[in-house]
Structures are given as C-alpha cells and as structure tokens.
C-alpha cells in the first residue's frame, strides 16, 4: 500500500513538471487552434538559454526565467508574424509542415552552434536541495520537485486569471471563437494571435528553465516532452487551463503507478490508452467544450 501511495506522490510531482511543459501548448493549440510541432524546440531553447546563462554568467536558472521569458516572448511573436501568419489561412497541413520545418531548423541550428553534447547545469538553487526530502505518513516528498510544483501552480494560477479574468484574456477567447465577430468589436485578431504565440513560447521556455535543474540539455530534448504535452492538452480539453493541469497530473500518476506493477514498457502505452478511452467517451477531453 505504501508502495502505491509513494508512486502516487512521485506521479503527482512529475505531473506538475509535465503541466509546465503543456501549458504553453494549451494557449497556442488548445485556445488559438494553431498547430505547433516545434513546441518541444521552444522548450529546448529555454533549457539552452538557462544553461548558457548559468555557464556564462553564473545566473541561477530560476533567476534566468525572467530574461528567458522576455526573449522567448519576442521570439514567439516573430515566429507568428513571419511564418505562421502566412500559413494560418491555408490548409492545416501547411501549418503542420511549417512547424515541422521550424522544428528541424531550430534543432539543427542548435546542433551547429552548440554541438550535440549533453549539457548540465550545476550547483543551482534547486540542485542544492537535491537530497532534501520531507517525510510524512511514511511517504517521501522531494523538496526540489515540491518547489517546482509550487512554481507550476503559481504559473497556472496567473495564466488562469489572465485568460479568464482580464479583458485581454476575454479578447483572446473571443478571437479564438470567432475572428470576424471579434474584429467587429474592435479586437485586432492578428495582434491577439501574435501575443498568444509570444505567451506560449514564453511559458514553455519558463518550463525549460525549471526543467534544466532535473534533466540534461541537448538539441533533441524537446521531443520526449512534446508527445506527452500533446496528449495532455487533448486529454484535458482544448483551451482548458484547469483541464491541462489535471490531465498532466493524471499522466504523471498513470506513468508512475503503471511501473510499480507492470514492466516499464507499459508506461506510455497506458497514458495513450487512457487518452483513447477518454477520447471515445468524451471526445472534447475532460474539461473541454465543443
């Protein structure tokens, strides 16, 4: 029983990290309904940025969140203005191929610039807490992951308030629902899309700056998270911020609990099986609306 409870705790802790990665995609794909296969590469850029600032200037990745988020916001806006706006009105396949092209461009540019070496940050605030554990009810809670979970919750709360409680958020939702109607009430859809891309890129880059404390950094690091992020957004319901958070926690728990009883090969199989199951029973996802 303790084994299962510990697996639940481990899964929830990982789930918060997954939620961080998926939240940017919730804005771009879930809310604005644009496809971005380079989402993982935005994460990778955030990780590389945090590693570079740490290696060059000794900046802790948690502090580096601010400059990285600003730079990646600008990058997201640029990607929308110079690439995605041009393919937005076309066939969805054009969006798919444009972002796949962007994926390879970013990945290979980083290979050319930094080589394919694995990079590691050392002696960061979270890593110094590396061995610190809280014990309660016979369960172990890793302090660095608890801090990351707290940051993740804060980010989700901020995003929820931004989307649901501000004029900007309502304008974003209006643009997503009906671009022409939004234009009639004075909203400039192109600007909304650009800001959404900026926000999505900044959020996933923040996730990268946090993840760099737990994972090695290399040009292909984004892929393993992208696949999960897509499943999480679809599972949680397109455009639902709360749904994304809960779906990420669910994915973390499924992965974790599965391995306690079954060979690890079933880990992701069960995640996608649950996605298929929920897709059959509730195609709009757990918290999505049609």
């Amino acid at each position: 029983m303790t084994e299962l409870a510990q697996a639940l705790v481990n899964g929830l802790q990982m789930g918060f990290l997954y939620a961080l990665v998926a939240v940017g995609l919730t804005i771009i794909w879930g809310l604005m309904e644009m496809i971005n296969f380079a989402h993982g590469e935005f994460l990778m850029l955030g990780m590389f940025g945090a590693w570079w600032l740490s290696a060059s200037f000794g900046l802790d990745p948690l502090v580096a969140i601010v400059p990285i988020a600003l730079v990646m916001f600008a990058f997201g806006v640029l990607v929308y203005r110079h690439l995605m706006r041009r393919v937005q009105g076309g066939d969805p396949f054009t969006q798919i191929f444009a972002t796949i092209g962007l994926l390879f461009l970013l990945q290979n540019a980083v290979v050319a610039g930094f080589t394919s070496d694995y990079r590691f940050v050392n002696d960061t605030l979270l890593q110094r807490l590396g061995g610190a554990r809280l014990q309660a009810l016979g369960l172990t809670f890793a302090v660095p992951l608890l801090v990351a979970a707290g940051l993740s919750l804060l980010l989700f709360l901020a995003l929820y308030l931004l989307i649901e409680r501000t004029e900007f958020g309502l304008a974003l939702q209006a643009t997503s629902e009906d671009r022409d109607a939004a234009r009639l009430v004075g909203i400039r859809p192109q600007r909304m899309f650009a800001v959404a891309w900026g926000l999505g890129a900044a959020l996933v880059a923040i996730a990268g700056a946090i993840l760099v404390n737990f994972f090695s950094v290399y040009p292909q690091v984004g892929l393993q998270f992208t696949v999960l992020a897509y499943a999480i957004v679809a599972l949680g319901g397109f455009g639902s911020i709360l749904g994304t958070l809960l779906a990420a926690l669910l994915v973390g728990v499924i992965q974790s609990v599965t391995v306690v009883y079954l060979p690890p090969a079933f880990k992701d199989a069960f995640v996608f099986a649950s996605y298929l199951l929920i897709g059959l029973l509730r195609p709009q996802g757990l918290f999505g609306r049609f």
């Binding site: 481990n10 292909q220 306690v260």
Partner: protein, 440 residues
Amino acid sequence: MPRLSRRLVLVAIVIVAAFGVSRMAPAQSKVSEVLIGSVLPLTGNFASLGQQYLWSAQTAEDIVNNDYPDLQIPLGPGKGFPGLGGAPIKFIVRDDQSRGEQARTIVEQLISVNKVHWINGEGTSGITSLIQPVVESAGIPLSCHPCASPTLTEKGLKWFFRTGPNDKTMVASVFTFLKEWPEKGGPKDLKTIALFTCDNLFCQDNRKVATDLAPKAGFKIVLDLTTKTGATTLASEVQRLQAANPDVLFNVQYPAETVVFENDAKRAGFMPKVMATSNGAYSDETWLQAQKKTNGAAGWLGRDPTAIDLAHERPAWKKVNEIYKKYSRGQNMGELAMREITGLLWMADVINRARSVEPAALQKAANETNMAPEQLIIDYKGIRFENGQNVLATGVVTQVGWDGEKHTLWPWDLATKANFKPIFPSPSWQERESKPKPAG
C-alpha cells in the same frame, strides 16, 4: 600483296598487338582519391555519439593525408596511401538523423551515386544492422568499430568488419571481475544483482549477455527492468529497485536517461553497494566531465575497451589526441573515439596493403590482417579477424575515482600498473555531496 591488303594486315597487327598487350598487363587505373562513405547520426537521438565519430573521421583523414613522421601508427608518416601512389583519403559524411530508413537511403546513394570504396558507420548497432544487407548485396566493405552488438558479426556476412570488442567480450569483463574480485581482496558478500537496461538493440544485447553471465558469476538476479529510451521519469523504477535491494546494479542507459536515474535515485536515497555499467553514459565524455562537478560517477565501474588511464603513457596516443582535439573543440579522445580511430586507421592500412580499391582486393587484405598491438593506440592484443570480428579485441574494467577519472581494475596485470584502490561500497549521495569535487 596488294597495297590495300598490306595496310589491312598492318592495322590488324597493331590492333591485335594493342589488345594483346592490354590483356597481358591490365592497366592499373590510377586512383586519384579513396572515397569512404561515412553515414553517421549527426542529429537526432544519437547525435552526441555521431559527433565523436565525425571528429574521429576528421582525425583519421588528417593522419592519412598529412605527414606525421614521428607518429608510429598505420599511415602516420608520409602523405596519402603509398600503396596507391600517394592518393589521399576522402570521407563523404552524411547525417542519417539517427533514423534507420534514412541511413539505408544514404548508403544506397553513397554506393550508387558517390561510388564510394568503403562504407563506415553507422556507429550504433541498431541502425548498422539495418544497413548491413544493403552493403552486403552491393559487395563492398562495411565497418562499424564502436558497434558492440554481437549479432552484427554472427550473421555470416562476408563484407562486414569490426575491430572493436563486442558486448559478449566487454560484459564478460565485468562479470569476470566481479567473480574474481573476492579472491583479490574485494568484498565477499555480493550475492544479488538487478539489471536495469534501456530498450534498444545495444541495451538488450547487454541485458541478454548479463542474464547469461550473472548466475555463472554466482549472482542471483533479483530484478530485471527494461526501460523506455527517452524516459522523462524513472522514479517508480527506482522504487522497485529499492524494494529489490540488489547488491549490484547492472545499469545500461544513455546519458539523458542516466541523468534522470541519478536524480530519481538521489531523491529516493537509493545506492547499491556496486554500480556496474556497460557503455552508454559511461562512454560519454560530456557526461563523465559533468560528473566531476557533483562526484556523481565516483565509484561507478564499467567495461571499457582499453585502459584509458594507461593509454596516456603511449606517445602515439598523445599525438593522435592532439590531432583529435583540433576537431573536437578541445575535448580529449574518449574510449569511443579511440575505438573508432583505431578502426579507421586499420581500414587505411587495409586499403594501402590492397594497393587497390577493388572490393575483392580490399576484402582479401582485410581478412589477411594481422596487426601487432604496438601499432595501435588502444589496448587490444592486436587485430585479426574471424567472421568479421577482431578476435584480439579485449575488454577491461575501469572505475571512476574521486578525481573523476577512470582507473583500471581488471585485468589484474593492468590493474597492478594502474595502482588504484577500488572504491567500495559505492558512496551514498550524501557522501558524494560532502566530498570535494574534482571540478570545483
């Protein structure tokens, strides 16, 4: 004889003579350059391996094409191939993005369009097994020196060659060491082992060999876990390992997954008495260098194809390492690069001895190889082939010390030379944190 007939006879004599001469002494078509098709994973999942192979190819090309009079290894002194009138070597490098189907297409192009004389690659056993049939049917030599999967040389192929040791040899080194260690003053209470391997051909071959050898070395396998390559968390796997409580953990994972494992093990406070590994992260220079900042690898032991701590004493190793560093942005040759460069210089020697780029001549020269250990930059007992496998390739066991460097533990004669006191038991995470770090 009428004038016309005389002329006809003369022309006929000239033609016959010319034809006869040409038959008697077939023209050696002059080789302007020797083309090596090099298919490598320069991007994608195995890019960190691919770039080491690329730097190795650049090093080999440099050594063959330039004159290094003091470098006593094949093709060191002199420019180009003396056996081919000084023709230079040229590597045509292609990136397969760590994808098997891409590698197959590239190999087909290298053979049919670029007309390469030899294919070297792909650097990973899984993808190499996919390109083997393409090259075999084309009938030109293929080599992959760092590929360690035994199956590659067990298919009866005529055109595949590997100078490096396979996993049977190298994993056997680890288990021979563990078996003999108690007699040499090592711990006598190591009885159980857990296998913790990734899911690709390389890891699974290691697992199979370990499954066979562990009981023979007196170990009971208490857990056998195969993990997914690209795992984002291994917390539950660590939980199971902790519950199984093995004396020895046989861990075969790539650097990214090894970092995930280290973090999860640290959080759970898990550390077996012995951390044994086989290639993967243990062969990755960037991982090893990063561990110097955390003492993360101190006490890890694993198999290597050479006693890397003793290699530095070889003059040829030092010189080749200097050349390698020109291309590797200052990174030293790791054992993986040493295996690859050794293989590429053997290939150059074969081409030189063949005095031809004809496939049959290359194949014959390759099969006739009998290189002495003095000609190598690595600790093999030499190079001699049986069914495409160098039967003189060896494995050694090394351990990372508190200085962050690898030290030889086995074979015992090399261990005596290395004069290193093994770290046992594997230090806890707290001890790693409290000790001074080699890289500050």
